[in-house]
Subunit: 209 residues, 2 copies
DNA sequence: GCCGTTCTGGACTTGCAAGTCCAATTTTAT
DNA sequence: ATAAAATTGGACTTGCAAGTCCAGAACGGC
C-alpha cells in the first residue's frame, strides 16, 4: 500500500478525482470503468493495479475523497464557531457550498449505492458524521461557556440535531433542487439556540460567565 | 393503463411488493429482474407486460409504493398534531417506524439510484415531501392558534426544518444503524416549539390561555 | 360456445461492462 | 550501468442481466 512512487501516487489521485467527476456527471450506476478510464487517460490495468478490489474498491476511495471534501469546504468557518457571527458565517458557507453543488450529492449517491454491498462505506460516512458533529458540539460549548444559551441544552444532542437538519436539507435538495429546507433547518436551529437563553432566564436558571 | 382486469392488477401489485422486498434485501444495484421474477413467481414477459419501460419503470413504481407506505405508517398520528400529546405520540410513531425499518431505507436507495437517470423519481419524492410538510405545518398552526408557541414562528419554515431533521436522521441511521440523530432532531424541534413561547412572552408577547 | 383480449411461460438474443493477462516501458536502488 | 520493481497499454475473455419473441392458457363479453 505504501509502496507508491510519486508518479504512482499522482496517477492514483488522478483516477480518484476523475472518477469523482464522472460519477457526478453520470451517476454511480451509469459510470463504467471505461468511462473513468477515458476521462482519466489511463488504462484498464492501471485501474486494477491501484484498486485490486476493482470497481468497488475504487468507489470506496472516491467516497473517502468526497467525505474529505465536505469537511474541507466548511473550513475555516466550521472551526470558528465561537461567536454568533462565527455561527452565521458558517451557516452561510454551508448553504453556499450546497447551492453550488446543485442537485447531485456524490457522497449520498455513493453510499446509497455501496451501503448494500460494502460495509466500508458506512464506516466512511460514520466517521465523517462523528467528526462533523464533534466540531459543531465544540461550537455549542463555546456559546455555553459564554452564557449565550440555556445551560441545560446538551451540546452533543443539539449538535446531532443540527447535523441531521443539514443532512436532511441536502437530501431534500437532491429532489427539489432548492436549498430551502437546508436553510430552514439551519435557521431554526440557530433560532432555537438564540432564544433558549430567554426561556432559561425566565425560569430562573443562572446565567454563568 | 386502466385496462387491467382484477387478476392483472393483482399480479402487478404482487410484482411491485415483491420487488420492494427484494430491493430491501439486496439493494437496488444488486437486485436483478431475475431475482424479482423468482421472488414473485412470475415470468420475464409479465414483468415487461406490466412495465413496458422495463427495469426503470418498475423501480419507479416501487418508489411510488414506498412513498405511500411512509405516509401511511405515520397515520393517524400525523393527522392529529393538535396538542402537545398529539405531537409526542407522532414523534414516537416516527421513531418506532424507522427503528423497525433498520439500516436500509428503500426509498432513499431508490431515489439515489434513479435520480441520475429518471426525473420521475424526483417528482415522487418532491410530492411526498410536500404532503408530509403540509401535514406538519397544519399541526404547527394548531399550536399557533392555541397560543402555545411564539406567534412569530412561521409554520412552513418550522415544518420544513422538522422535515429536514427527520430526513437527515434517517439518512444518518443508514450508516450508523442508530436512531439517535432522528430522535435528537425531533426532540430539539419540539423543544424549540415548546420554549418559544417563553422567550416571546419575555419580549412582551401576550401569553394566552 | 365462440372470438377477441388479456395474461402467462420460458427459451433465446444481444450487448456490454467487469475483470484477466502479458508484454512493453519507465523508474529506482546500488 | 544494470537489474529489480513499479508502472503502463490495450487486446481478450467471460458472465450475466436486460430486453425480445412467440406460442399457449385463461378470461370476458355476447
Amino acid at each position: 500500500m505504501t509502496g507508491l512512487t510519486p508518479k504512482g501516487a499522482a496517477t492514483r489521485a488522478r483516477i480518484v478525482e476523475g472518477a469523482s467527476a464522472v460519477i457526478r456527471d453520470l451517476g454511480v450506476a451509469a459510470a463504467t470503468l471505461d468511462d473513468i478510464r477515458a476521462h482519466t487517460r489511463t488504462s484498464k490495468s492501471q485501474l486494477f493495479h491501484y484498486f485490486p478490489g476493482g470497481r468497488e474498491e475504487l468507489l470506496l476511495a472516491v467516497a473517502r475523497f468526497e467525505a474529505e471534501t465536505v469537511l474541507r469546504d466548511q473550513q475555516p468557518q466550521l472551526g470558528n464557531l465561537t461567536t454568533w457571527d462565527g455561527w452565521t458565517a458558517w451557516r452561510d458557507t454551508v448553504v453556499e457550498r450546497y447551492r453550488r453543488q446543485g442537485r447531485r450529492c456524490p457522497l449520498h449517491v455513493l453510499t446509497a449505492h455501496l451501503g448494500a454491498t460494502s460495509p466500508g462505506s458506512q464506516a466512511v460516512v460514520t466517521e465523517l458524521m462523528q467528526h462533523w458533529q464533534a466540531e459543531i458540539a465544540t461550537g455549542v460549548r463555546h456559546l455555553h461557556d459564554a452564557g449565550e444559551i440555556d445551560p441545560r441544552l446538551d451540546a452533543d444532542t443539539v449538535a446531532a440535531a443540527i447535523l441531521a437538519g443539514i443532512q436532511g436539507g441536502v437530501v431534500i435538495q437532491m429532489s427539489t433542487g432548492s436549498t430551502r429546507h437546508l436553510e430552514a433547518a439551519l435557521d431554526s436551529a440557530l433560532d432555537h439556540l438564540r432564544t433558549s437563553r430567554l426561556g432559561a432566564s425566565q425560569l430562573g436558571a443562572s446565567r454563568s460567565r
